[in-house]
C-alpha cells in the first residue's frame, strides 16, 4: 500500500520492540498503567484518549479509541462531545495566541 498510513500497521504497533526492546517494554508497561482503572475510570481515560487522538490527528489512535470507547459502553453522543472538547481546545489555543498578535500589532502601530 503506497500511502503514509496503512491501517494494517496498527496491528504491528507492538513490533516497535524489534528495534529497541527495553525502551518499548518500558513504554508499553507505562502505557498499560496509564489506562488502568484509577482515580479516573478506564472509560473516562478512553474518552480522553479519543479526544487527544483527534487533537494530535493520529488515524491509528482514532481507530483504536473509537473501538475502545464503544467497547467500554460509551454512546456516540459522548464520543462526539469528547471530540468537540478536543476541537474547542485546538481552536481556542490558536485563538488565545491572537492576544500575542494583538499585542504585537499594538506595539507596531500608531
Amino acid at each position: 500500500m503506497k500511502t503514509y498510513y496503512n491501517p494494517e500497521d496498527l496491528k504491528k504497533f507492538s513490533n516497535i520492540g524489534e528495534f529497541d526492546k527495553p525502551l518499548a517494554d518500558k513504554f508499553f508497561s507505562w502505557y498499560g498503567d496509564v489506562f488502568a482503572e484509577g482515580a479516573l475510570t478506564a472509560r473516562e481515560k478512553s474518552l480522553i484518549a479519543l479526544a487527544v487522538a483527534h487533537a494530535v490527528q493520529c488515524p491509528y489512535c482514532i481507530d483504536a479509541y473509537s473501538e475502545d470507547t464503544l467497547a467500554k459502553g460509551c454512546t456516540e453522543e459522548q464520543m462526539m462531545e469528547a471530540v468537540h472538547v478536543a476541537a474547542a481546545i485546538r481552536g481556542g489555543s490558536s485563538l488565545v495566541h491572537a492576544t500575542q498578535m494583538m499585542n504585537k500589532v499594538k506595539e507596531l502601530t500608531m
Partner: protein, 349 residues
C-alpha cells in the same frame, strides 16, 4: 426483517457457514481453533460433567434481531413438541441435572411453555428462562408472564444490548428498547431485580457491532446507573457476551466488511484461562427436535453429538456423554476471547 431461512440466504445453511469460517481462517493465516487448543494441551476438549440442560424449545420469535445466532423470527415454525418436552423432563428426573435453562426463539411462544416450567419446578431444579422482554407485549395472553415467572420463582435472563434506545433498536428492531424498559418495570413490580425478593432478573449485553465487550463489571455499573436514574428500573447482574461469528451476525460481518478483522480480533484476544470454564463442558444443549449438542452454537451449526437416535434426549446416555469429545471449530474463538463468553456472561471471573 425475514429470517435468513425465509430469504433462502446461503448462510441459512450451516455447512456454508462452517466453510466460510474455515476459508477466512485460512486466508487470514489464523490458527485453526483445534490447533490452538492442541498447542496448549487442551485438545480434545472434554466435559467436566453435565450440570445444566439448555433446552431450545423453538425458533419462533416475535423479534428478528440482527445478531441472532438462532436465525429466529416470526417466520420460523420449529417448535418443541409436548412429547420431546416430556423426554426432557424424564432426562432431568434421571440424570441429576441441577439447572434447566430454557431458550429459543422466544420460549414463551411454545404452547407447552407454562406446563413445562411447572413440571420443572416440581422436580426441584433451578429453572432459568431466556425472555426477550418484548414478548410480554406481543399478545395480551402474555401480559401476565411476570406474575407467572414470579409464582414459579424462575430466574429471568433478558437480552438488552444497550442502555439506550438508539443502539438497542438498531440491533433488535424499532421500539424494542421502550418495550423492554416497560417489561422490566412489570418484572420489578412483582419483585424481580429487588434484593429482598430473591427473584433474579439478569440482563445480557452483547456488543452492537464488530467489537468486543470491555468487561462485565464496568458495563454493569453503567447499565445499573443509567437504567435506574433515567428509566427507574433495576436488575441483578449484567452478563456480557461476545457475538458469535455465525448466522445473522456472520451475515452482518460479511456485508459490513468486518469479517476477517473480527476473526483476527477474536484470535488476538484468545485467553487460555477461559478453556476451563467453557459452557460446553458442563452444559448439554437440546434442539427443538430433541437432538443433543455441546452448546446452542453447535446446535445452530448442526454439529450434533454422536450419530442418529443414540444422541437424542429420549436415549440420554450419561456415561457416553461424560466421556465424549466436544466438537470444536473456528466459531469457538467467540467463547475464548478476553474474559471469555458463555450464556452466563464472562467465563473468567
Amino acid at each position: 426483517m425475514k429470517s435468513l431461512l425465509a430469504q433462502h440466504h446461503e448462510l441459512s445453511q450451516s455447512g456454508r457457514q462452517l466453510q466460510l469460517l474455515d476459508e477466512v481462517v485460512q486466508s487470514a493465516a489464523i490458527t485453526p481453533f483445534k490447533e490452538k487448543l492442541k498447542t496448549l494441551g487442551f485438545y480434545p476438549l472434554k466435559p467436566t460433567g453435565i450440570d445444566i440442560l439448555q433446552i431450545n424449545v423453538g425458533k419462533l420469535c416475535n423479534q428478528t434481531c440482527k445478531h441472532c445466532h438462532v436465525d429466529a423470527g416470526p417466520d420460523r415454525k420449529e417448535i418443541m413438541s409436548r412429547e420431546t418436552l416430556e423426554q426432557c423432563l424424564e432426562a432431568v428426573r434421571t440424570s441429576g441435572i441441577s439447572t434447566v435453562d430454557i431458550t429459543g426463539g422466544a420460549p414463551e411462544l411454545n404452547p407447552h411453555f407454562r406446563w413445562f416450567v411447572k413440571e420443572c419446578t416440581q422436580l426441584g431444579v433451578k429453572v432459568m428462562n431466556r425472555c426477550n422482554l418484548t414478548v410480554i407485549f406481543s399478545n395480551k395472553k402474555y401480559n401476565d408472564l411476570p406474575e407467572f415467572f414470579a409464582e414459579h420463582k424462575i430466574e429471568v435472563v433478558s437480552s438488552l444490548p444497550f442502555y439506550n434506545a438508539d443502539r438497542t433498536d438498531r440491533q433488535r428492531g424499532e421500539g424494542v428498547f421502550a418495550a423492554s424498559v416497560k417489561a422490566m418495570k412489570l418484572l420489578n413490580a412483582v419483585g424481580y431485580g429487588k434484593a429482598a425478593s430473591g427473584l433474579i432478573l439478569n440482563l445480557v449485553y452483547n456488543p452492537t457491532g464488530a467489537f468486543l465487550s470491555s468487561g462485565q463489571q464496568v458495563l454493569e455499573a453503567q447499565f445499573k446507573k443509567v437504567l435506574h436514574e433515567e428509566f427507574d428500573v433495576v436488575f441483578n447482574h449484567l452478563f456480557t457476551i461476545t457475538n458469535m461469528p455465525i448466522s445473522r451476525f456472520l451475515d452482518f460481518l460479511i456485508t459490513s466488511g468486518n469479517y476477517e478483522s473480527y476473526l483476527e480480533k477474536l484470535l488476538a484476544a484468545f485467553n487460555p484461562a477461559t478453556v476451563n470454564g467453557l459452557m460446553c463442558r458442563n452444559t448439554l444443549s437440546v434442539s427443538w427436535d430433541g437432538y443433543l449438542y455441546d452448546c446452542d452454537f453447535n446446535q445452530m451449526l448442526d454439529l450434533k453429538i454422536g450419530e442418529g437416535d443414540a444422541m437424542h434426549i429420549k436415549n440420554l446416555d450419561l456415561n457416553y456423554l461424560n466421556r465424549r469429545e466436544i466438537i470444536v471449530s473456528q466459531h469457538c474463538y467467540g467463547c475464548t476471547a478476553g474474559a471469555g463468553s458463555s450464556c452466563g456472561g464472562e467465563v473468567v471471573k
